[in-house]
């Protein structure tokens, strides 16, 4: 005690300096990741037949007025919606996964832990196999609308159960698993009765595809992100506190149940929109947040933006790879995401362990 209080001011100043450096490093990392992401978007746009150059494409994206008619069609009509869809869906899944892991206090949670993707697949199957539309009057979008409606109904059921049973992670996960198996069974029923053509269509839907992207859908994704992300940021203090344990967060004045419910609502919205637009891409929401955590830790000020960026980076990389592996063929993204993310993920795990051992 005595030797430590001789220069408390000096040590405190050191600590403050180190803290500020950490903060700057965190900002630097987020800016760096955002810059890499914008390069990937441009790369995504030039990948494919048409021989676009990087610099020219970048200029056309920044200033649409200089585009030639051909560039106008290829860049603005065809490729940019897909590239931006990859970015927004990736960010949505990254954010949803990060907060799901936080509120369930479980590193294995992802946006679809609570059965949302099975529900969405079941909704899509209802549309594809039986031709049913859950939401009337949506026209050609009824597969998407069904998937979204079923995912949202599932999360409402989940809310109902947690109201009866208390908002604990255990109850939420168990009810979620029950949902997952229920919808998988229902889906199997529909698959059993489906024709070969319908089955092929259904499997293609489940494998996921960015080809269904449009400016309208990109707009919806941006809008949802623009609502949910600021809300999560505003709760970042409470979410960080929750990571220290429920009791401790409560002692600091966090209303833990309310926080869990409101964040779950946000996560449900994000993942329902993502899954209904591009199919069940599970890996991104699990690994994106883990990569962010290994880089900046779990302070939500860095964790949340970086989870979004990591998710977006993985999806953007996936989009590029799905076109580049065999020229002329666009592979379903569900098949590619794991192949893109896992090598990087394993590298990080290995690097992390080394640091702990030293």
């Amino acid at each position: 005690m005595v030797e430590q209080t001789i220069f408390p001011g000096a040590e405190a100043a050191e600590l403050v300096k180190a803290y500020k450096q950490r903060h700057l490093r965190r900002i630097g990392l987020v800016i760096g990741a955002a810059m890499v992401l914008s390069c990937l978007v441009v790369l995504d746009v030039i990948t494919g037949p048409a021989n676009l150059s990087f610099a020219r494409t970048f200029q056309v994206i920044l200033d649409p007025s200089i585009a030639s008619p051909k560039e106008q069609v290829i860049i603005w009509k065809l490729r940019l919606p897909v590239a931006l869809m990859a970015v927004t869906v990736g960010a949505m899944l990254g954010v949803a996964g990060a907060e799901m892991q936080t509120i369930l206090n479980n590193p294995l949670a992802d946006p679809f832990t609570l059965g949302l993707s099975s529900a969405a697949s079941f909704g899509a199957a209802l549309a594809i196999v039986l031709g049913w539309s859950v939401v009337p009057g949506v026209g050609g979008l009824f597969v998407t609308a069904n998937a979204f409606a079923l995912a949202m109904i599932t999360s409402c059921l989940l809310f109902l159960f947690t109201r009866l049973r208390g908002v604990t992670p255990e109850a939420m996960i168990l009810v979620g698993i029950a949902m997952l198996f229920t919808f998988n069974a229902l889906l199997a029923f529909l698959q059993y009765g489906a024709s070969e053509l319908q089955l092929a269509q259904l499997i293609f839907w489940q494998l996921g595809s960015l080809a269904r992207a449009s400016w309208g859908k990109v707009g919806v994704c941006f809008a949802v992100l623009a609502v949910v992300l600021p809300y999560f940021m505003s709760r970042s203090w409470a979410l960080t506190a929750l990571r220290m344990g429920e009791e401790k967060a409560a002692a600091l004045g966090v209303n833990v149940s309310l926080l869990r419910m409101s964040v779950l609502a946000g996560v449900s919205l994000l993942s329902a929109v993502a899954v209904s637009f591009v199919g069940a891409v599970a890996f991104v929401g699990l690994v994106g947040p883990h990569i962010a955590r290994m880089i900046v830790g779990e302070d939500q000020r860095g964790f949340l933006p970086l989870s979004a960026l990591c998710g977006a980076l993985i999806m953007s990389g996936t989009s590029i790879a799905s076109k580049a592996i065999t020229p002329g063929i666009v592979y379903p993204i569900g098949m590619i995401t794991s192949l893109i993310g896992i090598p990087f993920f394993i590298l990080l795990i290995l690097g992390q362990r080394k640091r702990h051992w030293q």
Binding site: M1, E11, L15, Y19, S236, G245, A251, G253, G297, D299
Partner: protein, 257 residues
Amino acid sequence: MSGLQAQGLGFSYGPKTVLQDAGFHSLRPGHLTALIGPNAAGKSTLFRLIAGLSRPTSGGITLEGCDLANLTNRARLKRICFMPQFFAANAALSVFDVVMMAHKQLRGWRVSDADMQTVGQALSQAGIGHLAQAYVSDLSGGQSQMVSVAQALIRESDVYLFDEPTSALDLRHQLEVLTRIKQAMRARQAIGIVALHDLNLAARFADHLILLGQGRIVAEGPPETVLRSKAISEIYGVDVEITTGPREDLLVHAYAS
């Protein structure tokens, strides 16, 4: 009416009664009270009731004449700082950040230079400056406990509740932490309650003892009186002998009866 008072507190988890008719007389500002009692006597529950994290089924608590039940949860947790029992979070959060979090309680994340100075000084004074950049998931049990105490002491409250703040600490750190708590209570004129299992530490540091057994407050008063009372042997189920140590302090010896 000054100080912290409780009357007729009752609480049960389902059919299991944890506290009944528990009450204590006014605890005075600047004093440190030790809450002692065997396992499952209701110590943590009593803390949760005072902090407002659970609602009592009967009875009430007043602080300086004001009924705590009339305060909102938020206002209550500003006046009463509760450090829950052992904290072993596996979060990738740095020690500096978690202490900052406690300091910024409910005021969001906008951190000023003054906030950083305060946290830096608190860590330095708590003797955990060298851990500032470490993740709480990498700390040992004792280290996380010291962080917990630092988190509690950085807050400015009228009442501080520490649930076993020294259970994972070595001898030297036990003495240091309790000394720091006691000094802080005196300097801030705050009411401090510490739940302790070690009766010798309770005898050494507390100005006042509360003995809890089977959900009731069995004895209350200066350490000398409570420790020499007959109740203590009965409640703990051991023979207790008190002697005076080499520095005029009370020593508690327990023998299996």
